[in-house]
Symmetry: C2
Subunit: 203 residues, 2 copies
Amino acid sequence: MPAPNKTRFALLGLLTFGPMSGYDLKRMFEKSLNYFWNESYGQIYPMLKKLAGEGLTGGKRESDPESRSRTVYSLKDEGMAAFREWLALPAEPMRDRNELLMKLFFGRHSSPDINRNHLLAAREYYTGLAQKFDELEIRLKEDCSDDPDQPYWLVTLGYGQNQSRALLQWCDQSLIALDEIPADRTSSDNSKNETNEPPSGGR
Amino acid sequence: MPAPNKTRFALLGLLTFGPMSGYDLKRMFEKSLNYFWNESYGQIYPMLKKLAGEGLTGGKRESDPESRSRTVYSLKDEGMAAFREWLALPAEPMRDRNELLMKLFFGRHSSPDINRNHLLAAREYYTGLAQKFDELEIRLKEDCSDDPDQPYWLVTLGYGQNQSRALLQWCDQSLIALDEIPADRTSSDNSKNETNEPPSGGR
DNA sequence: CGTGTCATGTAATCAGTTACATGATTCA
DNA sequence: TGAATCATGTAACTGATTACATGACACG
């Protein structure tokens, strides 16, 4: 059995905030979940139709002359039930595919400068991220103190904060570690002849 | 322009360790890069043919009667050059799609028990991970102290260590935070209308 | 002789992004 | 009027996994 589709649950979840159009949903992804989830229009619109077809949401064409015409979807009880069911299922661990780590793993074939730059770029990235998270924390605590969702959002925020701080530390410690590699080890060796034995293991 | 294919570079990178078959490469992914990269046969075999077709690797059918027949690919200078070129390019940040965070983000619609269980499962997961990383560190320092790749592998390992420890802490602090939510906030409220404010906020 | 591992591959399917097409409305 | 935004969608493409098919050899 292949992994069940998660786009549907992301959409159902966002619709708990109230009826919305596909366009609204896209903005919600950008605004709210962006750090751990996003969906493209190519996923959103077809899935919205599917969900309505399954009776999980109700779609109504709004032709209000006051506003622009759009299709607004609202969560039905059946949709809420399906969403709750999914919430209770164990979360599948994400498969990480980390390009930065791959580059550093093979760093011997690169140059000290390049490796250093990768880490500096990562450092900058995590610095900005940590800062954004801290700002978000302030806003969440100020503006949403009455919101029943607030504690949950603080939890997801905390994930980002802990992670970005930890990886910031990692950048610093790694920059030091790579600096300490003796030059005869950093040389990017063009040949692939050496010993042929696979890494790890050995004697 | 779509993101360039990274499978090719993963394969080229692994071939820096020496000539290998598709089967060997798959085992290498499983054994060495597993925590931040993996590829399935469905990606590996077609890409190996492609790389050979582009002249980046040499593929030789080995029909050694001593061993089983297999196709062994080796890195050519052109392949090494292409790999080096890629190493110097900035690493694209990975897009995180974190199911656990989505479930917790919408945790209000779940139950305290379920949220707690998600965090406990994550806690167990990261505990095991941190332990494996620590074991790996010992092995890396014992067995590979002469390996010119060792410092780079320690860097990638450090990423996993810092991250898993940080997220372990996050699990603990989040379990506490969710425990402190007053019961009238945890109730999975079916309606989205409320705002019947509880008298005098703050805790 | 049958199970497990080595070994290579493909087809079906699913997931996901990008680019494009269209058109209405708002606002400077 | 022309640019920005609102709004909906689809087609083409890439990426990736899963399941399957095949067969050889090893080991008990």
